[in-house]
Amino acid sequence: MMGFYFSRLVEIYPFFLKGLWMTSKIAFISLVTCTLIGFILGIFRSGKNIILKRIVGVYVAFVRGTPFVVQIFIVFFILPEWGLQLDAFPAALLAMAIMGSAFICEIVAGGIDSISKGQWEAAASSGLTLAQQLRLVIVPQAMRVILPPLVGQYVLLIKDTSVVSVIGVMELTRVGWVTVVRIPEGLMVFSLVGVLYFSISYPLILLSNYLERKMALE
């Protein structure tokens, strides 16, 4: 029996490695873009410009208030009606960027808001420009508040990449689906999928825990 499972595993594993590679690719690109966009939005969200603050607020509320699957469908099926036709892979990346940046925006804004007004005033009164105040004084301090939940958010984003399987991107979850209709060992297939996800996200979970303890100590 075990020998049979093993030979199945040997048979299907190249397929799963491809899926893992695709998942890693989507996750990596998404984490980078979500972080960049999320920080910019977060700075606007915590800033003094009321109009930008409101616009970002509406964006965040919309993204947080709708399921990710629906957002993917909008990007993949509705945007083409407005002239933006994307393949599944870029559509997946765009949807991830929209969703992830909204969550990271809130984490960043929360971190910046936690810094006292006095720090801004001290930096401003010495002649630093707004960008310098942020870069040299505010963000380095806010990072202590931002980092633990940010890494936690990364774990969620990695798992959320599984949702892009609904538009046919051949990532890990999709590979699981496709495999399971061809062979009878469903439990083994999705166990394997689960283990592979876990192998990417667990190091980040450990990092998040570590950061939380470290920041709490300081």
């Binding site: 001290a122 010495s126 002649g127 310098q132 040299l136 380095p140 301090q141």
Partner: protein, 242 residues
């Protein structure tokens, strides 16, 4: 050097600065006192535009502070500001705190900025704390670092917003000593404080504010010993007996 012309400011309906006219010549040491909420902190915070004004004009060294076309960075670089709560940057060492603005605003070479920073730390008596972090210092030491940080930009004006109010009594002296030293070097200073001893010893002029207006000005001796208004007399008796 600093001039207020019919300056008015409101916080919503509260009239915090009511038609302020004031001239502070170069080299003057002005002490501003008054009950809390009288607008004294707001007054000096308007000088480097930490607060906006709604009416009137403030001119510092021929620059209209509240004019949109004025170069705010350049203006602020020549005005040092010391806060009640110090507001040192907790993620930087003492030396980095003092060097930050010279390097990033004046674009000084790091070595030059470090030399200046060490000079200023020596002036406030904290040479040996250069590599410490603010959290490792006492309140009095933190405030002296804050003064050094202001001085590192070689400002023409130093503004102090209740610099000793957050300190334990035994630490007030060390901060005032540093400020007295600055007076002897001819620095133009506006100091919001209730430290009568400091005012009597070094101030050229005392300004008493209440409810957003300048009620009374005079030399320290005149003001504290022979106040002209009842409000000032009442205030002085309160800070004497507290």
């Amino acid at each position: 050097m600093i001039e207020f012309k019919n300056v008015n400011k409101w916080f919503n309906k509260l009239h915090v600065l009511n038609n302020i006219n004031l001239k502070i010549p170069k080299g003057e040491v002005l002490v501003i006192c008054g009950p809390s909420g009288s607008g004294k902190s707001t007054l000096i915070r308007c000088i480097n535009r930490l607060e906006r004004i709604q009416k009137g004009e403030i001119i510092v060294n021929n620059t209209p502070v509240h004019d949109k076309s004025s170069n705010l960075t350049k203006l602020r670089a020549q005005i040092g500001f010391v806060f009640q709560q110090f507001h040192l940057y907790p993620h930087m060492t003492v030396l980095q705190n003092v060097m930050l603005a010279p390097v990033n605003v004046k674009k000084l070479d790091k070595k030059v900025a470090e030399k200046i920073a060490r000079e200023k730390l020596e002036k406030v008596g904290l040479t040996e704390k250069a590599s410490a972090y603010p959290a490792q210092l006492s309140g009095g030491q933190q405030q002296r670092v804050a003064i050094a940080r202001g001085l590192a930009m070689s400002p023409e004006i130093m503004l102090f917003d209740e610099p000793t109010s957050a300190l334990d009594p035994e630490m007030i002296g060390e901060v005032l000593d540093v400020m007295v030293k600055l007076v002897s070097e001819g620095m133009t200073m506006c100091v919001v404080t209730h430290e009568m001893g400091f005012a009597k010893k070094v101030a050229h002029r005392v300004l008493f504010m209440d409810e957003g207006t300048i009620v009374e000005t005079g030399t320290p001796d005149d003001f504290f010993d022979h106040p002209k208004t009842d409000r000032a007399a009442e205030f002085i008796s309160k800070i004497l007996t507290h």
